[in-house]
Amino acid sequence: MNRRKFLAILGSAGVASALGTSKVAKAGGGTHTWPYYENSYGILHDTTRCIGCRNCEEGCNKVNNLPKPDNPFNDLSVMNKSRRMTPTAWTVVNKYELDGKPVFRKSQCFHCNDPACASACFAKCFQKQPNGSVTYDDSQCVGCRYCMIACPFYVPSFEYDDAWDPRVVKCTFCELRLKEGKLPGCVESCPMDALTFGRRADLIKVARARIKDNPDKYTDYIYGEWDAGGTAWMVLAPIAPDVADKKHSRIETGHEFKELGLDTHLGNRPMGELTYGALGAVPMIVAFWPVLFGGAYAISKRREAIHMAETEAIVRETKEDVVNAMDAAVRKIAETQGPGAADAACQAMADAMKTREEACAHCGHHGEDK
């Protein structure tokens, strides 16, 4: 391969890579990187109905065969402090205060339409399934926990206790039960229907109807309809009394969600859009940087080899020239002064050459030492 051919290959590879990256970027701007599944399922969590009984936690524990917790599920004192999801508690109910009244909210994986965890995972462990669930496959997981950092809802938890094969753990939407035609464990065990299961599109209509029928009961916002690009699990919040009075003059919508520990500043585009472009370039970098730097190394090596060869040729030519000149000189001496003088001159010249070569070798040796 010569230099020209190598550069040609490198150039075309660069164009291909640029095209690939721009395609990802384009997808981020207009369409979902994950397809939007029309008939996907979702769950509507109506916090005005939730009474904080923790039956959902118990149901989840039971259907997923999780280990028994330290405190029994009917111990409601655990709600006095905020809890997070753990590898053995895939959903937790927390108590919040809205104008002095307790409001309960269940936390679990929101099963985003375009999940941020999947966007951050370079091992492609997370998949958005057509039924709405975001599934995790541990077979390729390297345990980098980028997903835990990427998730805007702080959902994935990590089996820190397991030294040898720790996995990331989160709510599965009871995906296996869905496939059997059953309801998720938490929904089945809710005594208040604070969790409504259905097609996501239907649930949005249900939520809108509830807000319309009870404008003084609900905040006029469906959390998760658009937040973080839309989520399968959506939340309705009660309206704060002071807002109910000044309904028409209020400025900030959805401050109730902030009180419920839900971030209302996630934007309405998927988190992944911020990173898909940059992260999409990573495979390109991985693929082409060895070629690029390997090529540069090869070029410099080759140039060195050529230089060496050229130098050697010059040296050889010079030597031949010297030998030829000496031959010519010896022949001339033999012609003019006879063979004896030629032999003496020949001897003298050979000696001189030898001395010089020795001196050269000596200084060359010194040079190498230095």
Binding site: I51, L183, C190, P191, D193, F197, G198, D202, V206, H248
Partner: protein
């Protein structure tokens, strides 16, 4: 007869008591006019849909007979309704089409709107419906009315929009604003005389207790004190004129719990529609499962009426634990020890 005297005495007292009540009742009735207004406002009046455009056919919504006396005594002051401070008829400014005097707030809006911007510099007006809707937030009403909202049906409109003995000539004149005050007073008096509140079903028409045992597994069946609950609800609104007027069907009060059906004395079981769901029902995602249907009704009403007891999370207040459950719990406790 040793007890004869006592019996006779008791009987005499009873007769005297009955006589007192029956004889004195008519004399109590004239006490009502003590409420008469200080102002010259009539006690009842007819509000016609006064329009600016010529309306020779008399096409329009049925006029309303408004009992000024009753309403006057229930609001803070005249400005609550006469928001400009001038005690003039609503139709002076608010006409069917709306005009510049009424800031283009039409008569329909002035009477019915629920969306009223609070006024910073002057009196915030209110409409008939906005004020009536506000009444539903009273604890005695809020139980049912946090679950059901009044249906805006023809029957609902008729409560106000009905005038007895109205002729076509009256309507044409009334809309044009030319009907004589005498005729108006006559119409109003006739309507009020003819107006009768519907007779409600009585607590005794329903069962005394109802056994709710469809789902009993973890907990025992619940014996629901049906009559006690109906009694309590009816007792609270017994003297409420607004409720009496708008609960316009014999079964209106029943229809909070026994909803979405033509009411008769026999009601279907809740489980007829609310299934004990184990599988998702894509057709009706919003319909609560049976257990939730019960809980939403009971807890929704109790919450609305500020009934402190029972606590939402205290299951055993309403449901006795089933044997299996208590045995399991006892075993668990033993195991812990």
């Amino acid at each position: 007869m040793r007890n004869g005297t006592t019996l006779l005495l008791l009987a005499a007292i009873a007769v005297a008591g009955v006589a007192y009540l029956t004889l004195w009742e008519p004399s109590l009735a004239p006490a009502a006019p003590a409420l008469t207004s200080v102002s010259d406002a009539p006690s009842a009046m007819v509000i016609f849909p006064v329009g600016e455009k010529p309306n020779y056919e008399g096409v329009g919504m049925k006029p309303v007979v408004f009992n000024h006396l009753v309403h006057k005594n229930r609001v803070e002051n005249c400005e609550s309704c006469h928001h400009t401070g001038e005690t003039v008829a609503c139709t002076t400014c608010h006409t069917v089409e709306g005009n510049v005097k009424g800031k283009f707030v039409t008569l329909n809006q002035a009477m019915h709107t629920l969306r009223i911007l609070p006024q910073a510099d002057r009196n915030t007006p209110q409409s008939c419906v906005s004020c009536h809707t506000k009444q539903l937030q009273k604890p005695k009403c809020a139980g049912c009315h946090s679950i059901v909202k009044p249906t805006r049906s023809e029957i609902y409109c008729n409560v106000c929009h009905s005038v007895t003995g109205l002729t076509k000539a009256d309507i044409v004149d009334g809309i044009a604003g030319k009907l004589s005050d005498e005729r108006k007073a006559e119409l109003a008096a006739n309507t009020l005389k003819a107006r009768k509140n519907p007779v409600q079903l009585q607590p005794t028409d329903g069962p005394y207790k109802v056994m709710i045992d469809d789902i009993a597994d973890k907990y025992k069946a619940n014996m629901f004190a049906h009559r006690r609950h109906v009694n309590s609800l009816m007792g609270r609104i017994k003297d409420n004129a607004l409720a009496s007027a708008f609960h316009n069907q014999p079964t209106t009060l029943c229809s909070t719990c026994h909803h979405n059906r033509l009411l008769a004395s026999a009601s279907p079981k809740c489980g007829s529609c609310h299934s004990q769901r184990a599988n998702p029902d894509p057709a009706t995602p919003a319909r609560p499962q049976l257990k939730a249907a019960y809980h939403l009704q009971c807890m929704g009403c109790h919450k609305g009426m500020n009934v402190a007891r029972p606590l939402n999370i205290s299951c055993v207040t309403c449901h006795k634990e089933s044997e299996g459950q208590s045995v399991a719990r006892a075993a668990e406790k033993l195991g812990e020890k």
